[in-house]
């Protein structure tokens, strides 16, 4: 139970951070470019992590399903935060 709350807390943190970045991009045109840079960099990092999964997995000491679940959760939280801010929060 506490582990579920811990993982959920990490997920919620990712959502809020992504949402915050999206909101910052929405309030000023200068920050809009920064927002895209942040999103592109995180997307590139995720793609890199997906491509180098075996070596990164050894570094993080996770099993293969856990590693992919982690990647999927990060991608989903970033997407959820950004899309929610874009659709209802902007």
């Amino acid at each position: 139970m506490s582990k579920a709350i811990h993982l959920g807390a990490w997920f919620l943190t990712g959502c809020i951070a992504s949402s915050f970045v999206a909101w910052l991009g929405a309030i000023h045109p200068a920050l809009f470019r920064v927002m895209w840079v942040v999103y592109i960099v995180s997307a590139a990092a995720l793609a890199l992590a997906l491509l180098t999964d075996d070596s990164a997995r050894q570094f993080l000491k996770l099993s293969e399903p856990d590693y992919y679940a982690l990647l999927i959760a990060i991608a989903f939280s970033v997407l959820l935060g950004g899309v929610l801010t874009w659709l209802i929060g902007g």
Partner: protein, 179 residues
């Protein structure tokens, strides 16, 4: 200090509430405040839930260790009791040797006694023999010899002569004792 579970749940609820209020249509300054509070609360929530995990793990480990210790204690206690009982009853005999020999002898005597071979006359008591004699005598007068041998002594058929001898034995014994 508040319970750690309560703290974690409050932080979770606060984080969700701040995030949702930041998403709702508010002025920009309020949204900024809500976002910063939500971020702070979520970081606090991560730390607190990690502490909660560690605490639960520690509690489980402690419980397992305590259970194991308890089992070991019970096993030691049982072993000590068994040793004490063995010291009392096991190696040294409870009775002195002469008493023990006597008891063994009497036990052997008891189970070697051939009580099954004894006839009815010796095993039955005098009063039983007397009542049998009286019953046989009255039945002889009333129903006759055949009835007594077949139904009282149960020696009819092929054992007729044996039954007759037994009947005369009973009658003779009764007359001799004057019942």
């Amino acid at each position: 200090m508040a319970d750690r579970w309560l703290k974690t749940n409050c932080l979770l609820a606060g984080t969700a509430a701040f995030w949702l209020s930041a998403l709702s249509p508010l002025p920009k300054i309020a949204k900024g405040i809500c976002y910063s509070f939500a971020l702070v609360a979520s970081v606090q929530l991560v730390q607190e839930s990690r502490r909660l995990m560690v605490q639960e793990f520690r509690r489980t480990a402690l419980k397992v260790t305590n259970d194991h210790l308890e089992d070991v204690e019970i096993a030691l206690h049982t072993q000590q009791q068994a040793e004490a009982l063995y010291e009392i009853y096991g190696a040294t005999p409870t009775y002195p040797p002469e008493v023990r020999d006597e008891l063994t002898k009497s036990l052997e005597h008891l189970y070697r006694e051939e009580s099954a071979d004894y006839t009815d006359e010796t095993s039955t008591s005098t009063s039983q023999k007397k009542s049998l004699y009286l019953a046989v005598k009255s039945l002889l007068e009333a129903r006759g010899e055949t009835y007594v041998i077949e139904n009282v002594l149960r020696l009819g058929g092929g054992q007729w002569s044996k039954g007759k001898a037994r009947l005369y034995e009973i009658l003779e014994e009764g007359e001799r004792n004057g019942w």
